[in-house]
């Protein structure tokens, strides 16, 4: 089995190499590459390997850029130090990834998973361009641009531009789209506060994060409270408390 390691830190590359050789002496490491540029060159000149290990952050950019420049149809196991949100996307698509520092046990499991694909007719998964683009976006931009949601056994990707508001209900978090649909999502409202662009979304109370376009009506109540009516919402009891009114008005105004 021919394996390529793409990792810019030599000690971690050595670790992967030692682990692989210890687990399966049949494994031949055909190249260790440290940048997008050298990887593209290598893939243009050589036959595709059976498997590639790929760090996400490389010396000169993100490893996803390799896919833009060469056709890479070998299975990939990603290596990552810490990208919790990006990692979720890999899980959805059942492409494997390993967290650094890589343990022998996890490496064994990843290789077993890889080999199991060969006993199935379809072979190991090849990474889809769309998934890569969405992960790349997540890593290179500070705010989320889309959410992956499950609809039955299908995965849909929803653009944040199409989201009216997020709300929590009975320990679950939901998002409501302009098409008047609700989806369950994996994030808490607190986590969302950091992930969403504050120019477009605002936390109005413990239960809601809303976008400008979600507001259908605002009513001033006595006791300096504000009542909000949201589009497509049956909830008639959405209030903004006194201490949140000032930041809310500032957000509305900009």
């Amino acid at each position: 089995m021919n394996v390529v390691i793409i990792e810019d830190e030599h000690l971690t590359a050595d670790r992967i190499l030692t682990l692989l050789q210890g687990i399966d002496p049949e494994i031949r490491i055909t190249a260790i590459l440290d940048s997008v540029k050298s990887s593209v060159q290598w893939f243009q000149q050589h036959e595709k390997p059976d498997l590639a290990f790929m760090d996400i952050q490389l010396a000169d950019g993100l490893s996803f850029e390799i896919f833009d420049q060469v056709r890479l149809d070998c299975p990939v196991i990603f290596l990552t130090a810490y990208q919790e949100y990006a990692i979720k996307a890999f899980k959805v698509n059942s492409v494997d990834y390993l967290l650094k520092p890589v343990s022998e046990n996890e490496m064994r499991m990843a290789l077993t998973k890889y080999k199991q694909y060969f006993s199935l007719s379809q072979g190991p998964p090849v990474i889809e361009k769309e998934l890569l683009d969405s992960i790349r976006q997540m890593i290179s931009s500070p705010y989320k641009s889309r959410f992956m949601v499950k609809v039955g056994d299908r995965i849909r990707s929803v653009d944040v531009k199409d989201i009216l508001y997020f709300f929590s209900l009975q320990k679950g978090t939901f998002m409501h789209t302009a098409e008047n649909r609700n989806y369950v999502i994996d994030f808490t409202l607190d986590a969302l506060t950091d992930l969403l662009d504050p120019a477009h979304f605002h936390r109005i109370n413990r239960q809601y994060i809303i976008s400008h376009s979600a507001i259908s009506e605002l009513i001033t109540l006595s006791g300096s409270k504000l009542k909000v009516t949201l589009l497509h919402s049956d909830d008639k009891e959405i209030y903004i408390s006194r201490e949140r009114i000032h930041p809310f008005k500032q957000w509305l105004d900009r």
Partner: protein, 190 residues
């Protein structure tokens, strides 16, 4: 005023605790334990020093420049283990011991240089930390920008600028030329 300053300190602390750095360091450490146990021991001590300093500086508004330099040297030691000869750092400061500065400012600038530039055998990154004629600190590096970098809301420099403004009228100077990036961080006389 005090409250605004605390908020800035808190924000900068959040930016400072970089999970990437920790896990990448641990990943290098696992290899060292097997290949060079002596170096591994040294690495653990430096990593502890770096994290202890990060935590200790939580409450401080200003620190003596020489403490910052010691911290920067430890941090650079760890990065050099990870990047080897691909990272070149020269620290040559000649400053008055009584000079103070905003904690973690030097390390943040070095970290930014590593984050935004290519660090490879073909293109080593060279960082230089020297003192200016006015007793401030100048950090410069050759520019070889990565095409895409990991996420960064760009808060770090803005935050530092505001924190400096609490103590001195000297500005944080940033110059980006065609092949070099230079930052001048003002020091404060206690």
């Amino acid at each position: 005023m005090k409250r605004a300053h605390l908020a800035l300190q808190y924000q900068s602390l959040r930016d400072q605790v970089r999970p990437h750095f920790l896990f990448n360091s641990l990943s290098s450490l696992v290899t060292l334990i097997n290949t060079d146990p002596k170096k591994a021991t040294q690495f653990v001590h430096k990593l502890s020093d770096v994290y202890r300093y990060l935590l200790e500086q939580r409450e401080n508004e200003l620190v003596p420049v020489n403490e910052e330099v010691k911290f920067l040297e430890d941090y650079v030691y760890l990065q050099k283990i990870r990047f080897g000869e691909n990272l070149q750092v020269r620290i040559k400061l000649d400053l008055d011991k009584k000079q103070m500065m905003i904690p973690l400012a030097l390390q943040m600038m070095v970290e930014n240089a590593i984050k935004h530039n290519e660090v490879s055998a073909g293109h080593p990154l060279a960082i230089e930390v020297i003192s200016s004629g006015q007793g401030d600190v100048i950090i410069s590096n050759n520019l070889q920008k990565k095409t895409v970098t990991e996420k960064s809301p760009g808060m770090g420099i803005e935050n530092l600028r505001k924190r400096i403004a609490f103590f001195t009228h000297k500005p944080l100077l940033i110059e980006e030329g065609s092949d070099a990036f230079t930052v001048t961080i003002p020091t404060i006389t206690s």
